[in-house]
Symmetry: D2
Subunit: 356 residues, 4 copies
């Protein structure tokens, strides 16, 4: 037999210290394995249990992580006092019920995006978390990227000047979903980024789209958020594109940012470009429009994997009792935008006021 190194050194893993958050991951389908890996590796958390109805998936997680308890009955996980938090990675239609039960059981809750299928549900979860003094965090993972953090710095610090428009293209071939359309899938990412980046809130939403599969939902949609003072944010969302594109432009009066998430480095590029207008506003024919074209600059970005940063943020909010960057209210706003876009789709693309 192979000689094991002495047990006290590498043997049974040390019991986790008291301030390590013990997480039960619920749903081990497409995204669940990423949650397990990240909560497992984050210094402030560990995964105690995985809950799924599918025995094959539970067997897979056990083979890979024998210390994790496989669970089929969600409520048993909720009853286990050793579990501090629940991370919900199940189909969207189940989010509300599962999160509500977990909060009522006194657990902290992490929910995959979107938070719920409706704004009132999202509000009720937010209020429940408030009442129960528990952390409710939505996994709007792009908010935790070095790229989005850096763009926020540019906007806050006036590097960009006034934001003139926001444009994003998020398209690829794939993963058509049955229960939601492309707005509820891809669009929610963009809504959460805009919600985080811009100080203003949109007042209305319009959207056009098309269905390409009989009986399916929209696989392509163009959504516009309308803000006060002429600002618009536009999104091209598409599950049926030949080439993957993740390209966001934030145009400011001083500088313009291009964020390309498909390239490995220099994802954020800041262009010293713009327009300067001279001349009298009364006399349009004498308007002198000058283009400024200066340097381009790609700042070094924080490299931590976004999901890892989010997992750490969740654990630290629990330990410190603080509010997550993407809390229930943010999650609810994003749901409100998706609902308004959905209504606009159904109404031929007309403007829909956001209800909040």
């Amino acid at each position: 037999m192979v000689r094991l190194v002495e047990d006290q050194q590498v043997g049974p893993v040390d019991p986790e210290p008291a301030d390590v958050v013990k997480v039960a991951v619920v749903g081990y389908g497409y995204w669940g394995p990423n949650l397990v890996r990240n909560f497992f590796e984050a210094p402030g958390s560990t995964v105690s249990a995985v809950c799924d109805l599918d025995q094959g998936r539970l067997a897979a997680v056990c083979k890979r992580y024998p210390t994790i308890a496989p669970v089929t009955e969600y409520r048993e996980a909720l009853r286990d006092p050793a579990i501090d938090a629940v991370a919900i990675a199940t189909p969207v239609s189940t989010h509300y019920r599962l999160a509500k039960e977990a909060l009522e059981a006194g657990k902290h809750v992490w929910v995959e995006k979107p938070l719920t299928m409706s704004y009132p549900e999202a509000q009720r979860l937010t209020e429940l978390a408030e009442r129960k003094k528990r952390v409710l965090m939505v996994d709007h993972v792009f908010v935790y990227t070095g790229a989005v953090q850096r763009i926020r710095t540019s906007i806050d610090g006036a590097e960009l000047g006034t934001v003139l428009y926001y444009d994003s293209v998020r398209v690829n071939l794939g993963l058509l979903q049955h229960d939601v359309n492309v707005i509820w899938d891809l669009g929610v990412h963009d809504f959460s980024i805009v919600d985080y980046l811009l100080p203003q809130r949109p007042v209305a939403v319009s959207s056009v789209g098309a269905r390409h599969i009989n009986g399916g939902s929209e696989s392509i949609a163009y959504v516009t958020l309308h803000f006060q003072e002429n600002l618009i944010a536009h999104f091209h969302l598409n599950w049926l594109a030949p080439v993957k594109i993740r390209l966001t432009t934030v145009c400011g009066s001083r500088r313009m940012v291009v964020y390309d998430d498909t390239i490995p480095s220099e994802k954020v590029r800041i262009y010293d470009r713009g327009v300067t207008v001279n001349g009298s506003l009364e006399d349009r024919t004498r308007l002198l429009v000058e283009y400024r074209s200066g340097d381009m600059y790609a700042p070094k970005l924080e490299q931590t994997e976004a999901l890892q940063a989010a997992a750490r943020h969740f654990a630290s909010c629990i330990v410190e009792g603080s509010r997550p960057r993407t809390d229930g209210e943010a999650g609810a706003r994003i749901v409100a935008l998706a609902e308004a876009a959905q209504r606009s789709l159904a109404n031929g693309g007309g403007l829909q006021r956001v209800e909040w």
Copy 2:
């Protein structure tokens, strides 16, 4: 003195043969010099006169092309029987009047895009050309590129299958115009390409946009053309973008085309990608959506400069008495789309039926 080679060989340029079309170019501003160069170099045409109100511009053309007559009075050019055709490269608001006078004077007419500022004007020009039996051609130059020709072949020959959507991004920093907004400038290119490529005609248009310069027109607009049977074509048009993009996707049920006009070669790429749906339409939960991801193929394209191809096409239509690919009717349809988009902009983005 330098000895000239013998006159009969290279000396005074031979008088043009009878079937060479003699063109007067009207307007020697931004685009006029390109017209002069191309009509000058095309085997079937030459430039006899350039007409402009600005003496400095006329001096410039004379220094460069001493055989071209400089003209300040447009009507004198129209009265000159040696001039066969007039090419109009003046501000859009003057197109209708100048083209009308030229057709009435019996000249063939080339007009820069867009043909006119209104659909009725465009129709009247079309009828006038018909009555006068003269060629009326609009310079929708992209229709004459090897790229657009190749995509048309793909659509006609069923390589793509049914077109599912059309998406185009035409953005750059620059050249804000005073008399028209970005739809009438950049959008008209895309409308003409779609008009040429697709057999269907759009039934309605919607559009959102924003103005960024006091007293100016929209520098950014998103326009959607709505066709029968769930087909949409969407355009991002933008004069205020940090990076130049010219990227068109035509998604078909069999294959998908990406046309990137900013790269020097392999501008058109045809992807053998798509979605196959199996299963009963009644039972959405059992829909089996499969992604197909096959080869990519970039066909060799015809390399002739598009404006040169268009200039030759114009001359050959005159000589053969045939109808140009981008005739007055096509020009009128494009104007109708721009008008509808403009109305939608003014109406908060609601659907506007195309009036034709």
Copy 3:
């Protein structure tokens, strides 16, 4: 306590079937974790033990894979009859000794590239494996990529015609190594690809390079392999480049292949381009050289992760008693090339015959 699902279903992992190859991975530094993951996930193999002198690393592997036995004494692993094969991922200078001991102990052996530090050592291992009837495979991982497989098909099937030259750029910032220079690190990848792709064997090697760190080895080198009949293969190898490039060109008389390993899809592009020469060879001034520029084509590639494909290949060679694609002889040839390049470096770049 959380209720475990019933033991008979997901509980103690089934003992591996008899024909699953049990691997001990030796060295859990930079590459070892990739070997563990891949032998663990490959259907034909599993990892029974990991051997490393560093307790921290062993603790890490145990936390992640509690079923793997941590080992500090290499020879104990060799004595364990339950272990079928050893995968060596230790510093290059130790490869020969560790592989030799493993073969002598009757184990099948996987060695990270390069096989050894010298050609005679590599030959001795090859002979020993032959004598012991054990599989000896070198992890020349690029040979197992879909890209290299597809290029090989192009060459074998005469799609490319006669190979005229081979050019590769493999540069990035990083991972300067102490015990070997950039030829023994990056260059070995390219040598193994060329060795696999081309039917010919190089007859000589030349190389120039430079050292940039005091006391360090060459961080940049340019190596040329010289074949019969005017064919050359050239490599730019560089640890000190600002941007990562992995770009290989194989120019054939009929078509040319470009293989860009840094892009996510269309990694291999086949260009129908070339030169056709007409005219008499005696009269150079009348040589008519014509460029052919046709379509470009990017075939769909096999997507399996290369290391996974290699791990499966190793297991299947053991089970079937067959010879790996990158066997000891291939590994020895690559070492011979690296040695010759090293000699050329030391001799001012002069040609060095390959000794085999």
Copy 4:
């Protein structure tokens, strides 16, 4: 007849002022038309005559520029006192004779690269220009690009630190030449850039290459310039590549520059990347090599077309009696490098000292 605008305004072109340099362009083949256009458009020069043996080419230039005198007898141009300067764009083998005659006739001389076929010839021209007090300038056109100017500023101003290596790839499909190989064609561009950028002079050259057309010269070559103190500059030169690449890396101890001449903007990118070495030089195993990876920065570049900048520089050197940036001495050094590379090719790639 079309009414001409009044003669005194745009009519007969004003006689050129006295300090406008009158140029005779010799050779109207591939490059000559570019020279004519640029000397014609540059404010300090004009083209009085074009000299070519081919009547068709002379007819072409006369059609395009009716004010230019066509000339077949070179010596007549040299005898014409109204001609100040001669621009030689004929095959390389004729450069020496034509430039010598022009200098002896008292003309200023512009010569396309390379200056001559041999170093002694280049030296003799340099001495002759000196003696005759005439400007001798070689059209090393890349030296006049905004990109190369900006990189020179980086090197001079210590932004890059010590240059560690220089690497360039200049490959494309095309234009195999009969009288020279790829070193004398493409390589000469790179030699002139390095000659301009680096303060040091190379001490030796090595080169390998291959011929691919019967009776032709090398269509691919790899050339290395060897400097003092471990600095090397390496060039991949290739007429038989499927894709055009123009990519230069200048790696400094503080920053690294990448210059990509095939992209329309941000051609020069400066990376704040590198390696920092800590630890004792005696103990290699304890060397701590750290990678620095900071921001990237793409400075705005001067946009003037390089040939236009060179044409202006030539005229201004003539008027001011100053020495051109790419004078006869620079031209001679570049010829010396090409000769040394050629000798190395013929000698199996061995080092050749540069003879100067």
